[in-house]
Symmetry: C2
Amino acid sequence: MSGPRFEPVRAVRAYERVVEQVEGAIESGALSPGERLPSERELMVQFSVSRSTVREALRVLQARGLVRSRPGDPNGAEVLPFSPAALHKSMTTLARVSELSLGELVQFRMVLDSAAILLAARLRTEEQLAEMAAAVERMKEADSEAFGAADVAFHDAVARASGNKLIQICTDVVRSIVVDLIAGKIASAPDGEALMRRSIGHHEEVLAAVRAGDGPLAARLSRQSMYDYYADYIPAEERVALRALLDYGDIGGP
Amino acid sequence: MSGPRFEPVRAVRAYERVVEQVEGAIESGALSPGERLPSERELMVQFSVSRSTVREALRVLQARGLVRSRPGDPNGAEVLPFSPAALHKSMTTLARVSELSLGELVQFRMVLDSAAILLAARLRTEEQLAEMAAAVERMKEADSEAFGAADVAFHDAVARASGNKLIQICTDVVRSIVVDLIAGKIASAPDGEALMRRSIGHHEEVLAAVRAGDGPLAARLSRQSMYDYYADYIPAEERVALRALLDYGDIGGP
DNA sequence: GTAGCCTACTGGTCCGACCAGTGCACTAGC
DNA sequence: GCTAGTGCACTGGTCGGACCAGTAGGCTAC
């Protein structure tokens, strides 16, 4: 017969229990962004642990992006509003140690971006549409530096219009990773000027499709646009997988 | 005139420099998974910092999922193979403090899963197809517990067949978050038995479409399947956004 | 009234100590 | 000879105390 099923007792370190408590307070809303934690010396009394333990706990919370501490600040550590910084960090690490290829990253962007655009074509407000249009205008008049910024603004407006915060955050994170990866290369592109002009044309078409409410068309155009933009940086054998998202003629409609 | 543009010097803490060096060694491959770091006392000599500083650095590295340390282990901290644990953690935090709704999470899954299936229909090997088929068979013969496991196995096989590690990891992370969120609810579902039967039918259709190489059809079916499966848990006003992914009749073809 | 200093805190770092674990070499027993 | 058991030397986890540089806010002197 099997006796009572005992749970394995994982040795839980003191600093972990401190982390759990503070984390719980933040997630439950008992501690809001902008509020301050007690000082380390105060915390060591409240938790009855040493300052080393408190500090290790704070380091973990800081690594998770929940808290920030400044030396000399008489108010103690500050509870931060959530930022995708931690997500960004772990995804960047993933990209490096897990050897994500540029192709995979771009493919991921094609999927998420086109989904965002498909949704935006349906759900966007007039305001958001105006933002996208403004970004495209800025792309036209920009030098190669401002061009990137305007491009980001466009895609960010689209992502927000999709109404899905997770899509918005993930597109943002992956985009910045891709941009970092090919940083410098874009300047040395065989024909950066032509690339920019073509990209502007693509964006205008996408914008028109969003304005018309034709999500499938907008999504298809955006995938094609991203493929064209990055294809030169991606090894030929990897491009096949990316084209699998295009070949159907239309992942977004007939 | 503007003089030389000086960079703002952010005060870099000692433990951060330790983190950077170890992190760099791991990312560059100088330190491989399974290898051991020197002991804390050895590290404090090498970095010429105190043990507290070394420990805070190790806590950060541990929080990022790069190393693990066991008390008493004579070999020092172990370099871990990358696991999406850190990604999972930060995304879970995101879901909680950033108040991601179940609807947004499911919508995200619909996007990623259908993209994975679209790619899998194109790129899958016979082996991977067999895995998917085996998983569906297990779903048929399983009780409600094993059903979930088989379901996971199916989607995991699909994600692997997509050939995109990022898609694979993200679907996995988001799936587990969704499952946690509705844990317990599924048992109390109005008609769990019927839901399971319907789900099996859907999976068989998806599998058939993948086998036939009809990616767009498979993708459409999978979105519909996921929508049907989770719709009951999602408030009506949120369902509209999810249906935006279905209404086009076919985000994957005519 | 204001400019500047002073003080009482903060977090960052260091040191030294103790404890409970772990792995390994060594030894006692077969 | 080989195995089973025992120490030992080390590990990480925690503690306490100490010092430093930095900050904010009150206080003083102008």
